[in-house]
Symmetry: C2
Subunit: 129 residues, 2 copies
């Protein structure tokens, strides 16, 4: 390809409000996007499997999230022409790179949740008095 090279200062910057990277980051870090990507790190899932796996997600939001992530090239949609319909979702190479990072973040969050809850309690305590 070699369309253009940015050696040190990339034209792409998440800090800039109009930069397309902003939108990409928002998709990856979206409420359900994070959980879908994290789930797909372990294995591929069908639609309704994902719906059960990712607790609390509605069908509408899951469908929307999957479409967004598919369009961004993060995951592959394999719709088999059988009855009942069967659609498998799996990560692309690009998607795996993103997913592994959000997976790590999700695991970290689980580990540190107790600390956060303690911090919240201390914060609220300091204000209630």
């Amino acid at each position: 390809m070699e369309v253009s090279e940015q050696p040190t200062v990339p034209a792409v910057n998440v800090k800039a409000p109009m930069c397309p990277s902003r939108g990409v980051l928002e998709h990856v870090t979206s409420r359900w996007g994070v959980l879908v990507l994290a789930a797909l790190v372990e294995r591929s899932y069908r639609f309704s499997e994902l719906r059960r796996e990712v607790g609390g997600v509605s069908e509408k939001m899951l469908a929307q999230t999957l479409q967004t992530l598919e369009r961004d090239g993060f995951l592959l949609r394999d719709a088999k022409p059988v009855i009942p319909p069967r659609v498998d979702y799996s990560l692309t190479a690009l998607g795996r790179e993103a997913a592994e990072q959000v997976y790590a973040l999700a695991r970290w969050t689980e580990r540190r949740t107790a600390d956060v809850q303690a911090a919240r309690a201390a914060y609220d305590e300091a204000r209630s008095s």
Copy 2:
């Protein structure tokens, strides 16, 4: 502390809809939370510095995001009693752990944005025909 120990299966699980870890992850991956944390990795900032640094954020959302992250124990708010008011925000140890991960994710996003855009173009192309 040693309140409780989860050896292999943690009671904390982001996949469960009611789990508190879900809320923590949402704060960290929130639209402006990500960018604020990523910015604070490099150095501490004052309120209006952050507002300029994180392009497109409103004062309301910045204040809200900062309060949420402070309450979660991710960042420290140092309000100096001077005029004009001066408030410095910096990461705590806990916040730095989170911030470094979202920082890495933000940098990855910048690097891969071109690929995502290509994927989008291909996706749209395949549907328009």
